[in-house]
């Protein structure tokens, strides 16, 4: 019966320690009864393969032992949706963007291989994510263990949150269009040097754009003008048409490309100062450069997201759902 001993030993390994002897006594008695019955039928002792068949029918030792364990789930159904929600929120919406930001900043400040510096810092995300995952799981396991009664109490449907009106993704808010026109106009006036914004009062420090900007002068002007004109059209017809969605996508894509190019330019600004030492001026230059590079990186990320939104607007609607874009170039009023 060496095979039986091995089977029982394997089951014992997974059993709760206080119940091992008791459970195994019962289990072995059952298997011995099966063996005895089979041997009585055959009129002889069972061979190893016949005994193996009986043990196979009993089931895998780990599975058999698992059924004797008191609790079969770490986080039960009532708390699981909340647990998953918090996990996604922390890992995807807090930790990941934070690490991308930190990694990007580290890469920008790194004197050597920026890509390597970015990847190295981002690698730290996994340890952070693992720790967050462990902490959240433990917290919810404890809550599930000790707060069963929390979700058994009576609930009142009248206390449920009111349903907020779902924003129609086809509509373009007029407020956004007005803001785009106003700020776009101010920017263009500044860009063509018709509007002077004093950076620092008293003209102690004077900041000007470096010559690298010359190649971007007309592209930036045209993109800004296109943005203003599009916003005017959107103000008159506040719903997306395929044409205007395409124009928006082109503007966003151009902005993303320009932001990526500007991010790599050095220097972006030239700083002159009257009463600051050379060393302090150099530090100021580096700070300004870093700040602007990070700003353009953020602009690039936002533009890329806008591009993805634009692509989604251009895609044909799924069956049963409204498309974001009207098929007519002029854009008729959205139907029901």
């Amino acid at each position: 019966m060496e095979l039986l001993d091995r089977y029982l030993h394997a089951v014992r390994f997974w059993l709760p320690s206080r119940q091992q002897d008791d459970i195994l006594a019962e289990l072995s008695e059952d298997i011995l009864s099966q063996i005895g019955e089979q041997e009585a039928k055959l009129g002889r002792e069972l061979n190893e393969s016949e005994l193996g068949e009986i043990l196979k029918r009993s089931g895998d030792p780990m599975l058999v032992a698992g059924r004797f364990l008191p609790q079969q789930q770490l986080i039960g159904p009532p708390w699981f949706p909340v647990y998953i929600f918090i996990l996604k929120l922390v890992l995807l919406w807090v930790l990941l963007p934070l690490f991308i930001l930190i990694a990007s900043g580290t890469a920008l400040l790194s004197a050597q291989d920026r890509a390597l510096a970015f990847l190295r810092t981002l690698g730290g995300f996994w340890m952070g994510a693992l720790s967050a995952f462990a902490a959240i799981t433990i917290v919810f396991a404890v809550i599930d263990r000790f707060h069963h009664k929390l979700y058994e109490k009576e609930w009142d449907p009248r206390k449920l949150r009111a349903v907020s009106k779902r924003r129609d993704s086809r509509k373009i808010p007029r407020v956004g269009s007005v803001a785009e026109i106003v700020w776009g106009f101010i920017f263009i006036l500044w860009w063509v040097n018709r509007l002077h914004v004093p950076f620092i009062p008293g003209n102690v420090v004077h900041i000007t754009l470096s010559p690298v900007w010359q190649q971007f002068y007309w592209p930036i002007f045209l993109v800004s003008l296109a943005g203003i004109l599009l916003a005017c059209a959107n103000l008159v017809r506040p719903w997306w048409s395929r044409l205007r969605a395409g124009i928006r996508l082109t503007i966003d894509a151009t902005m993303a490309v320009m932001a990526c190019l500007l991010m790599r330019m050095n220097p972006l600004v030239e700083i002159t100062a009257i009463s600051i030492s050379g060393e302090e001026l150099a530090k100021l230059q580096i700070a300004a450069q870093t700040g602007l590079s990070i700003t353009f990186m953020i602009v690039a990320i936002i533009s890329i997201f806008s591009c993805l939104q634009g692509v989604r607007r251009m895609m044909p609607a799924k069956a049963g759902r409204h498309s974001d874009v009207r098929n007519l170039a002029g854009g008729a009023a959205p139907g029901p």
């Binding site: 019962e26 289990l27 008695e29 059952d30 298997i31 009993s58 089931g59 059924r67 004797f68």
Partner: protein
């Protein structure tokens, strides 16, 4: 059975197990009106059409005992130590209530099935406790 309906074997197996799960407790409690040990209990249930493996029945017996529905005692029989189970007083009361519940559900299902889709065959669902009593 509805003609022409194809169901994946895996889905059917899962649904079958779910259906059995509720019946097993009732069958075990009904069978333990008379004292039995694990192996003979399994054999008796199998003879009545409810096959149950040792990996399922022993955790179930322990759970029912921890809930106060069963009593157990170790005894030597045929030179081997065996654990004998029988219904407790609470277990008898719970069994009677569960049987009442079962009969009510059985009647409801029968009504639903009788008033169901055209062409469906009438399905007769017997009381497991009666079935076990007949073969006792």
């Amino acid at each position: 059975m509805v003609h022409g309906m194809t169901i994946a074997i895996g889905i059917l197996e899962n649904l079958r197990l779910e259906l059995r799960r509720g019946c097993l407790i009732l069958a075990v409690l009904a069978e333990l009106r008379s004292e039995q040990y694990g192996y003979t209990l399994r054999k008796a249930l199998a003879e009545n059409g409810i096959a149950i493996d040792e990996g399922t029945i022993y955790p179930l017996l322990r759970r029912l005992e921890s809930q106060g529905l069963l009593l157990s005692v170790w005894r030597e029989e045929e030179k081997r130590n065996k654990r004998f189970y029988r219904l407790s007083t609470d277990g008898e009361q719970v069994l009677d209530q569960l049987l009442g519940e079962w009969k009510s559900m059985n009647a409801s299902l029968h009504r639903i099935n009788a008033g169901g889709a055209n062409g469906s065959t009438e399905c007769s669902i017997s009381d497991p406790a009666d079935h076990i009593k007949e073969n006792a």
